[in-house]
């Protein structure tokens, strides 16, 4: 997995990943992308969302 932020600070993410991230409240910054050329795809957002939920559950 590669970091999905370019030198110019733009986040490389698919449109579907972006919409999903907004919907699930996932922050794309810091996510790494598993798509072509390190792009964040929906799968990455789902995984991040699940990890986040798992972490919050542990913290509680």
């Amino acid at each position: 997995k590669a970091a999905a932020v370019t030198e110019t600070g733009r986040i490389k993410a698919s449109p579907l990943a972006k919409k999903t991230a907004v919907d699930l409240g996932v922050d794309l910054i810091g996510l790494s992308g598993s798509g072509t050329g390190g792009r964040i795809i929906q799968k990455d957002v789902f995984e991040a969302s699940e990890n986040h939920e798992a972490q919050t559950a542990v913290q509680k």
Binding site: S14, P15, L16, A17, K19, D23, G35, Q42
Partner: protein, 461 residues
């Protein structure tokens, strides 16, 4: 890195070139013709013949467009000659590309004699070749079902159908898959009376059912008779004809006679001669087992294309060939079929990528559908064609999940939607893209707009 590729079809020769680009020392073994099924007896010859057939139909119907040709005839020998010119040129091209990439080509039959060694029976001798990596791309051959009488001389396979010297007066086509339907399109255009017998309840089962019904109607209009849910029981040589006895949907028996019977019920992997067991390569009745890196169970041995018995398409073989070559040369590539288009060269063309509506439904995907009829597209109208574009999108995020085009240039138009699926585009991105006027491609945007009931050139309700 020594890489040996077995088979010179679109899977093998592409793998060989890619491996050479990455610095491999590559040998390619091919027992017959470079280009494999695709260039010699598959994709290219069918499309070359179909192009002539299309020109014939257009010339005959020219009067509608003010182009008057009184006496249009098919010189079938010439048609075949043109086909040969094209295939020869492309095969020579492949030879040249391999040479330019310094791939050593050996003519002969390869088979494994160990995990890292094959023997190649050439015309004169048997060569032993050792390599670090092997890529198997031996393709497939027509399947021949054990139906009584199938050895009648009038029973031909796709290779035979592409090499006829005359247009037969009539033909019974057994199997309504891509090959059967393309050959039906070809010979019906050239004046042959065609009957298609399909065992399943629809022809072209991988395509979207709604559009398939439209192409069926078009074929019917041209006199192609199609019987689905119908099973061939036997063939009988009846002199000039072959008699094909079938069991109809309702259980009754019927006999169709044809000058030829084309057997196009599928293809099977061509791995028998390979000695897979000698190298311990896992396979399922001849279909080589691979993971998404195209690796077999034996480290260093890859397999791609028809010989793995999954998606039997030339562009899939080539895509897998690139992946295997990259992995063989130390890179890390995976094959993903989600952008893989399926095309049928009917008239008009028929193309599909991603989920069909049937697949979406059976997978329980929450989807919406947008459609646009090409009868409302100016460019299609100018060409005297119609058809339909149908887009399947996810209900929640409206990502493009599938696209289906029946219409002129469909096989080339599908590329835009394959890219959309690959990039996880939602319909917003397709809508934001300006589509040139007057093109058939405009109708892609309209079909996508229709998903939100906001198409411009069709009344949305």
């Amino acid at each position: 890195m020594k890489v040996t590729v077995i088979g010179g079809g679109p899977g093998g020769y592409v793998a060989a070139i890619r491996a050479a680009q990455l610095g491999g020392e590559v040998t390619l073994i091919e027992k017959e013709n470079l280009g494999g099924t695709c260039l010699n007896v598959g994709c290219i010859p069918t499309k070359a013949l179909l192009h002539s057939a299309e020109l014939y139909e257009e010339a005959k119907e020219g009067a509608k467009y003010g182009i008057i040709a009184t006496d249009v005839k098919v010189d079938f020998a010439k048609v075949q000659e043109r086909k040969k010119t094209v295939t020869k040129q492309l095969v020579a091209g492949v030879k040249g590309l391999l040479a330019a990439n310094k791939v050593k080509v050996v003519k002969g039959v390869a088979s494994f004699i160990g995990r890292d060694v094959i023997e190649v029976k050439t015309e004169k001798a048997t060569e032993i070749i050792k390599a670090d990596k092997f890529i198997i791309a031996t393709g497939s051959i027509p399947a021949k079902p054990p139906i009584p009488g199938i050895d009648s001389k009038q029973c031909i396979d796709s290779t035979g159908a592409l090499e006829l010297h005359e247009v037969p007066k009539s033909m019974v086509i057994v199997g309504g898959g891509v090959i059967g339907i393309e050959i039906a399109t070809l010979y019906s255009a050239l004046g042959c009376k065609i009957v298609v017998i399909e065992m399943l309840d629809e022809i072209l089962p991988m395509m979207d059912g709604e559009l398939t019904k439209m192409i069926r109607a078009k074929l019917a209009k041209k006199g192609v008779e199609i019987f689905t849910s119908t099973k061939v029981m036997s063939f009988k040589d009846a002199g000039g004809n072959v008699e094909v006895t079938v069991e109809m949907k309702d259980g009754s028996t019927k006999v169709f006679a044809g000058e030829k019977a084309l057997i196009s019920i599928g293809r099977k992997t061509n791995t028998k001669a390979l000695g897979l067991e000698k190298a311990g390569i896992a396979n399922d009745r001849g279909r080589i087992t691979v993971n998404d890196k195209m690796e077999t169970n034996v480290s260093g041995i890859y397999a791609v294309g028809d010989c793995i018995g999954k998606i039997m398409l030339a562009h899939v073989a080539s895509a897998q060939g690139e992946v295997a070559a990259e992995n063989a040369c130390g890179h890390n590539s995976v094959f993903d079929s989600k952008t893989n288009p399926s095309c049928v060269y009917t008239k008009p063309e028929f193309a599909s990528v991603g989920l069909t509506e049937e697949a979406a439904r059976s997978q329980g995907v929450d989807y919406i559908v947008g459609k646009f009829p090409l009868a409302a597209n100016g460019r299609a109208m100018i060409m005297g064609e119609d058809g339909m574009i149908k887009i399947i999108a996810g209900k929640k995020y409206k990502e493009v999940l599938g696209a289906h085009i029946l219409g002129p240039r469909a096989t080339d138009l599908i590329g835009e939607l394959a890219l959309a699926i690959g990039m996880e585009a939602t319909i917003d991105e397709v809508i934001a893209t300006i589509h040139a006027h007057p093109t058939v491609a405009e109708a892609i945007r309209e079909a996508v707009l229709a998903l939100e009931k906001r198409a411009i050139h069709v009344v949305d309700r």
